[in-house]
Symmetry: D2
Subunit: 337 residues, 4 copies
């Protein structure tokens, strides 16, 4: 049974294990002040072409989201998200647990735009309501779609005009930036967002996300927030070593590219057979709408999640590929369609 | 420069890296439902001789403390800790950030006892004050001391009489249970505490703590709390593999024993030279009081933290050894005294 | 300029001022343990025909909502509300500030029903999502509509089947229970809800709400929660005296009845002229849709809030009457239509 | 049985009831934007000789403390208090419920000083610890002592040097400023504190405290915080009318002066008989140490709280007088000594 359930079913890229082995017996400072974390920071700064960023590594995405948002907001300030946003649905109330309301807009493709955000700003008339202050997006989105540069530029300009922070959840930023539909670079992300993170866990690392803070207002005392939310890792070298390895050359992007290529192969086959999708297949998560009998047949050999009932005979499913997805498995899957 | 700063300066035991490599390409369920985490749970249950425990793995100690305490308490309930407790001093207000007051007792050896707790219960007379509900201890303590079985039995009985949960922070539980002064087993920990955790990060793992919940009242919905606090690790296999490896045989205890042996060697040398200690040296953290000139001399070759000024000529320092501490470095250090 | 802006524009019923004067120099216990609060509790228990209720008085509605909800829920549990619910829109994130997510259903008349709640329960599949635990309604609703007995019975039964608490915000419970459309009694409220409150501020008191807790699980330690949220009033007699006066005879209901009667008079005139309403006018808040020129004309003489733009020529407005609304002002308003 | 238990046993000064009656039928804006609240603000600004203050009225002291502190601090910042501080002991964890740690210094007279605060600043070395940001004092203190101008000037200068906000809980500020030991004015309070409040509840009002914010950084969005914590009173006129009445002439100070005079009369009699006190009697709360037999005798006729056991034969008690304390009761009490 081959699993297309998610992109964290396997361990990590062999080069990462090698890097961990090689560095293993060094004595290093704790809490992210080790040489490997410093090297990783330097490499990421080269990619974003900005040496003023504050970069800190944490162990997971929900944690990254909660720390960044709790650090950025005063108690009465709210977050604006897509209805489908991970923080709004799949984090068990992590943001609210830090005291903040999430306000959301419905969207068919998982992306936010000024037109979707504006009504939430208009509504917020006085101090009886929360005050919107941070816009949360993800790239790629929960539906696997990716932002175009023009879209992100428009959104970024809108946020700056309206005194809103723009925060991009990049749990799958690798897949986004290597999508065939993509025209953004890491440097664009850094110049357009106030803060974003680069996901390792879902792109071939054992674990770890790199939070990149661009806006000075969000840098102050950030380490206190990390510590307070349980996100300051004592053996920080574990994540530093991995990010240094991923950004020493093109490994980070190569892994994501492989994942996308595998997903696109499946998507192309599905499209050829005339199947529709919940959203345009653009990265390593695709959401085809299939007849229930076909789903039943596929489930005997492949693991994947049902997304939503479409009608009595059709259901959308989620297929996810990763850096480790074997092309042979993809080919066999395609043959079974 | 050899570091005695802490027990997380190095990577992990080579056997753990091997185990990670061996399991690396398997596809596994996420969020701790993988086969390795299941195996690790089974092995720990054998050690504690109880198959009803709920065992979940998280990435760090501050996180473990915050999740357990936030999950256990209603908003008006407080935690009782030693003044020196990690949650009270060194977690940047992580517990208060979940809404709970920490009340503390001063103690010279870092341990709590009924005599120290009782005044805090007497004081809590009505609903104008918080209601003490959970007693937080650590074993080993922040001063490297360890609980004796009789002490923990007394404390446990007292807590049960007074309707208080007993929670043991076991970031250094390995060092405690292999201390020459120790007469407790993991099974004792499980029968005397309502919940405790077994620290991996500070005892030879890359990262990870195993939370062991014994009291049924604390098991309900615990996974929700993990998720909400950013502690549910998607690639849970990373920690499962490590704990399985550490508890497959005696590796967990052997690593801790080595750390203790190295510390005891230094302690014996210091005692022989007539130096006193802040607290009895019992595990891998020791706190000798040394003349400032000797400290200055040692600092040229060894890394360690100053603990407290004792008088104009003396300061206490903290020396920490680990599973990876080279005995040669210890011998050289001793020779320099 | 006469104001139809709200039902807290005036002070209090003269009988309440008299009662305060008469009791003024007595020495009484603090924090709601005074004789007047005890009397008020007894009178309310007679009305609800249940002497097991726990009744506590607080100073305002937002406070009542936050204390009740924070006291009822564990951290990962959520509240279900109508989208228009006061807690969801007009409390500046007070509920989220206690750590809890509000999930909401869209509704045209401000009321919740099993059909609206069920999808939110179905969605909550596992511990990656919050766990719905409390249903929040208001009677009358934010749109002035009132629950029928059959509706509340159905809702109550549904909540009990699904292990959900039912909490009714009764800031305008007086207006609800004296609405021409009403067939509920205070005793019904008590038998169908787990907890509700009886609003004084918006029904002729100087200030104060009576929280009535029926479900034993919600009674435990409730005073701690009151104190922690700043809701335990030291000079509790202030509210006790007022509620005793309002429930000594029919004063509470008479004041509400007057408010409703005034609103119904306006509503009838509007209906006669063919104007439509956002929701059926059933209590002291009505929401007619008027031509913009008429609104402009009325605004020269009367204070009221614009509710929503309906089309380029029409806007809905909110008219609120109170225990103190002068019938002459109503008649003059009607004449101007 | 006459009660010396507290200063909120009676209702309010008759002039306040008259003022409420006189204003009762006016229609006014809600939420503190009424003419009476505006007048009260103007009168207080005259007293503090500063028209830039932001003044808002809330219903109680615990609420005032929680709103001010939650509004002032970012999540990782802590409050410094005297161990005996009301927020530290008698507010059921209200401050921690907003996410903040309270750090405290032991003090014999209830007052803080730079010497007591400094060790808490030194201790806070890095981001593993909370960051002290606000100093909380009360005047008069929990022990009835009052700050001298020189003390408050020193403390204020120290706070400004160390980038700490100074917040004074003035639940009994009237008693402090009319104490025989006092040399401070309301204007001094305003120039030396960043924020403070003027207590009405314990000085002859039915209820209400006036929060006075001097530091611009604390003014921003303060109304959002009020609303979020349930402290924005819809019928705000209730408190506006009272504060306007109290500050229209000297009523506020006259009431406090009477309370102090009554306490001083008792204190003088006790001192004459050679009894000692827990702290110097300086305002309307005094803490004599009495033989247990005398206490037993007094308790047959007077209500008061036991404070602390001193030795087997002696206990300290708390006697509180108020604006309403009858001098005859005081004389009879004194005669019984």
């Amino acid at each position: 049974m081959f699993s297309f359930k998610n992109d964290y079913s396997e361990g990590c890229h062999p080069r990462i294990l090698e890097a961990l082995s090689k560095a293993n017996t060094d004595q290093q400072e704790g809490y992210g002040d080790d040489e490997y974390s410093n090297e990783a920071r330097k490499l990421i700064m080269q990619q974003i072409q900005n040496t003023d960023a504050k970069i800190r590594f944490v162990s997971g995405g929900t944690q990254a989201n909660a720390v960044v948002i709790a650090a950025a907001l005063r108690p009465h300030e709210s977050v604006i998200s897509a209805e489908s946003g991970h923080i709004n649905i799949h984090e068990a109330g992590a943001i609210e647990a830090t005291g903040h309301k999430i306000e959301f807009a419905s969207t068919t493709d998982g992306k936010l735009s000024p037109a979707l955000i504006e009504p939430l700003l208009v509504k917020a008339e006085d101090h009886h309501m929360v005050k919107p202050k941070l816009v949360y997006i993800s790239n790629s989105t929960e539906l696997g779609t990716v932002y175009r540069k023009a879209e992100l530029e428009t959104l970024s300009a809108f946020c700056r005009q309206n005194n809103l922070y723009l925060f991009c959840d990049g749990a799958r930023l690798g897949a986004a930036l290597t999508s065939p539909a993509n025209d953004l670079t890491l440097a664009d992300m850094a110049s357009l967002c106030d803060v974003f993170y680069i996901g390792g866990t879902k792109n071939g690392a054992l674990m770890g996300e790199a939070i990149v803070i661009m806006n000075d207002a969000l840098k102050t005392d950030f380490e206190f927030h990390l510590k307070q939310r349980g996100a300051l890792i004592s053996k920080g070298r574990l994540i530093g070593i991995q990010f240094a390895e991923m950004f020493r050359d093109e490994l980070f992007f190569e892994m994501a590219q492989h994942a996308n290529k595998m997903a696109m192969k499946i998507a192309a086959a599905l499209q050829q057979k005339g199947f529709r999708f919940v959203a345009e297949p653009e990265s390593n998560q695709i959401f085809p709408i299939l007849p229930n009998e076909l789903i039943a047949k596929l489930e005997k050999h492949y693991g994947f999640y049902h997304w939503k009932k479409v009608d009595n005979n059709h259901t959308s499913i989620r297929l996810v590929t990763s850096w480790a997805t074997d092309e042979k498995a993809v080919d066999e899957f395609v043959n079974m369609l």
